[in-house]
């Protein structure tokens, strides 16, 4: 009886465990190991160089720039993208005819691949004949429209617009789900007690949405630290590394230049950032959201 139970449990866990350990956990540990070597991915691992890869990564201006770009995207997402998403979730909450249609439209970009999104927005940003340059010329006749993606000072902002376009619907949808869990009685009670609409929103609705807000912040931070697809398609990190992210940097060194040891050091730094953030944030901020 006991043995059959153990066998059942083991049999149910084993297939998933094998795949998960082999293709998810082990590679992370291997990345740590590789990061202490100089290795081109072929032949045996033999030139152990200690922490030299880390010193080189952290000393590289391009990597520090990439990290700064990830952090810029992160901050912009928190202060612009999430408030837009929350605002729209409140807007399409009730008393708005056609709200289901609006929600479907707002969520649509999330379903598209980042590749499709990137190609379409390359067209939108096209300096000669793109949608934005045509609009610009219509407003300022005769002017040369700026090439947002080609200029180091504007490229990150331009990409952030696309990131917001792609992901605001996802966060809006989470807020919408959170709002549905707030009992209507609470807001009605507040209004009976003399709260205006905005006061109800400020003192009842938004505080009750706390756990969802904390969650979207969490997802947004983790997402911002690992941007790749969209940026690779739109700028490949350029011009002159002005839109490099940690992931594009990792790809360039690990795969295009076959510096696997060095690329692994980048991966480990990403891992430490994400894992560290996850643990601290879950301990300190989200703890009260778990039962």
């Amino acid at each position: 009886m006991l043995w059959s139970r153990v066998a059942t449990i083991a049999g149910f866990l084993m297939p998933a465990a094998l795949l998960y350990i082999g293709l998810v956990l082990l590679p992370v540990i291997q990345a740590v190991y590789y990061s202490f070597f100089r290795w081109n991915g072929l032949g045996p691992l033999q030139s152990f160089i200690g922490t030299a890869n880390y010193a080189r990564v952290l000393g590289d201006k391009v990597f520090r720039g990439a990290l700064a770009h990830n952090l810029t995207i992160l901050v912009l997402s928190l202060i612009i993208q999430l408030p837009i998403a929350l605002g729209l979730a409140l807007l399409v909450r009730h008393n708005l005819r056609g709200r289901a249609v609006f929600r479907t439209i707002f969520f649509l970009p999330y379903v598209l691949s980042q590749v499709v999104t990137g190609v379409i927005w390359n067209f939108v940003y096209l300096p000669q004949g793109g949608l934005i340059s045509r609009l610009y010329q219509a407003i300022v006749p005769g002017a040369t429209p700026p090439a947002f993606l080609a200029h180091p000072n504007t490229v990150l902002a331009a990409l952030f617009v696309v990131i917001t376009w792609k992901f605001f619907g996802f966060h809006m949808m989470l807020y919408t789900a959170g709002l549905q869990n707030i009992p209507a009685e609470l807001e009605e009670a507040a209004q009976i007690d003399g709260c205006g609409r905005l006061q109800t929103l400020r003192y009842i609705t938004v505080p009750l949405l706390g756990s969802t807000v904390r969650l979207t912040i969490y997802l947004s931070v983790l997402g911002s630290l690992q941007f790749f697809d969209l940026i690779w398609i739109m700028t490949t990190g350029g011009p002159v590394n002005a839109s490099e992210t940690m992931a594009t940097y990792l790809y360039k060194f690990g795969f295009l230049r076959f510096q696997l040891g060095y690329g692994s050091a980048v991966a480990v730094i990403m891992f430490v950032l994400c894992f560290g953030f996850s643990l601290i944030y879950q301990r300190l901020v989200m703890r009260r959201d778990f039962e």
Binding site: L13, A17, V24, P27, V28, S113, F123, L131, M173, F255
Partner: protein, 285 residues
């Protein structure tokens, strides 16, 4: 003011608030839709006209942009590859995450929470971290440049989140049902196969749909693993097409728009399941 005037001004204020709400909602809807519609419509133009008048309807409809792609074998092959990877990955995820989820939701044993945390550890870091050694592993296993080299890692990386989602769903089944099944002589495996899985079809659908969308859109993994053109999935095909016809925007946009049709169609059919999966994963995660 008389009562009637007060009512009238309140009503007109409410009307103005409603109008403002619509204005905001419609502007955002347009911001979402205009790039997509512009892509689809400009796919019908000559390239010169795309660049001259991106906002207008085509003066003459160039069906050959779309026609050329529909008649090309590579588009259908990429569509087929994407479909195969998507179906295999979502089948794998549903099977392999429902089994541990069942153990974690319905069986009591020492070390259960520890094992569960072990399985969900993967949620705390991005796939990019594992990608270099994963590539080496796949190379050793002769899986580079094969669709399995995409499918297996997609399943593996889908496990943590979906085990979490399904455990939440599986925990909602009343214990009495399990006891009744046990009295009728049903083993835990029998209960899992004959009672739990059929009851949990909506949850399994949510997990499957979520995995399908992620797999269909995956770019990083296929980019690394697939070298030969005949194995390309749609995202790789789009990238290649853009590289090849980069300046011929009419054709690039036609290609992108065609590739959007299955995505959007699927979304309109499965929106509910997708949202159920995402919110369940997010709220419980």
């Amino acid at each position: 003011m008389t009562t009637r005037q007060v009512q009238a001004s309140a009503a007109s204020r409410r009307g103005m608030v409603a109008a403002a709400k619509y204005a905001v909602a419609i502007s955002f809807a347009l911001l979402v839709l205009i790039p997509l519609l512009a892509a689809a419509i400009n796919g019908f133009k000559s390239n010169v006209e795309v660049l001259l008048r991106p906002f207008s309807l085509p003066t003459s409809w160039h069906w050959e942009n779309y026609g050329g792609i529909v008649r090309s074998a590579s588009f259908w092959r990429q569509l087929g590859n994407s479909t195969m990877v998507m179906l295999a990955a979502s089948f794998g995820v549903v099977v392999l995450s429902s089994m541990p989820a069942f153990v974690f939701a319905r069986m009591n044993f020492r070390g259960r929470e520890l094992l569960f945390n072990f399985f969900t550890l993967g949620l705390l870091f991005p796939a990019a971290v594992a990608i270099l050694p994963l590539y080496i592993t796949l190379r050793q296993a002769n899986l580079v440049d094969s669709l399995w080299g995409v499918i297996l890692p997609q399943v593996a990386f889908g496990l943590p989140g979906n085990i979490l989602i399904l455990r939440g769903f599986f925990a909602t089944i009343p214990r009495e049902l399990e006891e009744a099944a046990a009295i009728d002589g049903c083993s835990p495996t029998g209960f899992f196969v004959r009672v739990l899985l059929p009851l949990m079809r909506p949850a399994l659908a949510a997990v499957a749909v979520l995995t399908m969308v992620l797999s269909w859109n995956d770019f990083f993994l296929p980019l690394l693993v697939l070298n030969s053109e005949k194995l390309y999935t749609l995202p790789l095909g789009i990238m290649q097409f853009q590289g090849q016809f980069g300046t011929d925007w009419a054709r690039v946009l036609a290609f992108v728009s065609l590739s959007l049709i299955p995505t959007i169609g699927f979304y309109l059919v499965a929106e509910r399941q997708l949202i159920a999966g995402l919110t369940a994963g997010a709220v419980k995660g």
